[in-house]
């Protein structure tokens, strides 16, 4: 079981790294939102799943409740992260920032 936990942890770290590199490299803030919001969501799903699995090593009622709470956090992140992204996009649209198209300079 330890191998499964380590595998999921490393996969989550790869997704988090991709998110951080993407935030630095993409040209404008609409395209930066793609790695920021979603690779982070996927990474936290994988890492939290691995941690809740590791937490079930000693199977007691308290440990099961704690793992359930971790899964609840993941569900909350999956609901709230698109909403936060949509809020940021909406703010940019109302301020009148146009999206970056091919051939513009980096912002």
């Amino acid at each position: 079981m330890d191998f499964v936990v380590i595998f999921f942890l490393v996969c989550g770290l790869v997704f988090f790294t991709g998110g951080a590199v993407g935030i630095l490299r993409f040209p404008d803030f609409y395209s930066r939102l793609h790695p920021a919001g979603k690779l982070d969501t996927m990474g936290s799903l994988l890492m939290m799943g691995a941690l809740s699995l590791y937490n079930l090593h000693h199977f007691t009622l308290g440990n099961m409740l704690t793992s359930l709470k971790i899964i609840l956090i993941v569900a909350f992140v999956f609901l709230s992260s698109p909403t936060a992204i949509h809020g940021i996009v909406d703010a940019g649209m109302r301020a009148g920032l146009g999206p970056w198209t091919k051939g513009d300079r980096r912002r």
Partner: protein, 93 residues
């Protein structure tokens, strides 16, 4: 296993520094908001890792849940606040 968790959390801190670059030097306010949001979503995982290292997960998981909610509400409130500002566009030039 504790050593592995320690190294994983150190690596997470390193990635958080990368995201913090966008939070400090981002050209517009919204870029800074993206950076802060990315740091916050990594902090939730980091809190649970700290709980596993100190073997007090049942306490730290509540803190992580409260932090996730606080991160969501902070981003939403900040983006709603800056919607009414006209200064977003000028800052780029």
């Amino acid at each position: 296993m504790e050593t592995l968790f320690l190294f994983v959390s150190l690596y997470l801190c390193l990635i958080m520094v990368l995201s913090l670059y966008r939070g400090i030097f981002g050209p517009t306010v919204l870029d800074r908001l993206i950076g802060v949001n990315a740091v916050g979503s990594k902090t939730v995982v980091l809190l649970i890792l700290i709980g596993l290292i100190y073997e007090r997960v049942d306490m730290f998981v509540d803190i992580a849940m409260a932090y996730a909610m606080l991160n969501f509400i902070a981003v939403l409130a900040a983006s709603r606040y800056f919607q009414k500002r006209k200064g977003l566009y000028k800052e780029m030039k």
